[in-house]
Symmetry: C2
Subunit: 246 residues, 2 copies
Amino acid sequence: MTDYADNDGTGVRADQMNVSENLKQRIVGQSMTDRVYDAILAMILKLDIKPREKLSEIQLSKELGVSRTPVREAFLRLESLGLLDIVPQRGTIVAPMRDAEFRKSQFMREAFELALVRRAVELEDNTELCKALDRELKLQTVHSELADENSFFESDEAFHEAIAVHCGLAEIWPEVQRVKMHMDRFRYAIRSQRETPTILDQHRRIAEAICNRNESEALAAMTVHLRRANHLISDAAKEHPEFFDI
Amino acid sequence: MTDYADNDGTGVRADQMNVSENLKQRIVGQSMTDRVYDAILAMILKLDIKPREKLSEIQLSKELGVSRTPVREAFLRLESLGLLDIVPQRGTIVAPMRDAEFRKSQFMREAFELALVRRAVELEDNTELCKALDRELKLQTVHSELADENSFFESDEAFHEAIAVHCGLAEIWPEVQRVKMHMDRFRYAIRSQRETPTILDQHRRIAEAICNRNESEALAAMTVHLRRANHLISDAAKEHPEFFDI
DNA sequence: AGCGGTAAGATTGTATATTAGTATGCAGGT
DNA sequence: ACCTGCATACTAATATACAATCTTACCGCT
């Protein structure tokens, strides 16, 4: 759990450690390609690597002490997610945040989560679901009061996931995460803990409407919640215009 | 357009031509990886290569006259779509059709297309959309009468795509195709042209409801249409149990 | 000084070599 | 006849080598 333990002799020169220390600690488990992929993905989402930042196969492979192949395969996966822009014979950069990409992501997430809500209100037995939602609400109350941002957003995820899981559609959640990805990049860029009370309130309304089987209310509450970020984008674009590509 | 024209000297032995002639003719355009990917994808969807059929990097690379790298990269893309199962140090097979995968695909497509319908009925100006839908309906009428299966299903695609395009969400369509993929595999396995009149009728109802801005009717009609295949799966599973993995 | 062309360097794309894990078949034993 | 252990063949994973293309910077010319 200790960060920055880099006394493993992988022969990384000190003058090219810009990204490497960050990566090293994340590299554990599965195949090389998987490890490299997970590491780069996390760094992109957390903005440890910034949009438009260059990312070369050969440099990363040296820093990570692996060959180009796993790095390249990780790059290809990330490109297919729209997170990297690979230009043949020129280079690879972290994709800038595109408005079109965001809109697409927003549409798909909304389509999924509203469909899940529609199922949730129609559950014959929703006691388990409501218990799970209530649990997350309690957690979020505490995390919000303690201003524990990370824990709050963790429970935020769990809240939304619980709806899918208790509808018998747990397999859908990874797909939601997939389409959410581009929104999450924005979220990390603009996330401010002053938002947590608002979010918590919205979650409460959603949970209440679902458990009361009030479909229209649940859908409305979820829609408001999911569209919350929309008006924050322009702020983010003003604050970090270099990240965007309009 | 002529199938099985194999007089190009790529050194493929006659006793291993099971897949090669089929592939060769498809290989044109873009990068090697893209070409190989497109070719294999088409063959999987059309059931030219059958579920559970083995597919080795080295054999394909020889047959296609390319190195293993593009083949491998194409494999990885197809694996991420759930169309190939790559087992390290053992081999790669075309993924059998899994009920869970189908249900997931069904859910996501329905979520997308119903969300698109909701937008479609709310368009201020739907004349272009209705014109496009009507055009495809006319085409489908002809194709159905002439029993031209392929053209019918082509127009079927165009019908659905038109809704997305005229809602200003053309970018969404590739994503719909993505999630539809697993359903399409079933569709090819069970497709019978006796279905075309039914489908055409369903399309007519959908188009009419959308153009009349009758949301509930449009949603109902689309839902019926999208769930049409559901009860056909069990038939397909009976007919080709070796393709399935329940 | 400004412009143009060329060569060097850097990049991804492709090909091949090496490594390591898995199945398989045969030999030898029980 | 059946099990066990080893050798072998085959696979994908990884590493390295080569090719093609683009950028960049420098040098010479005008």
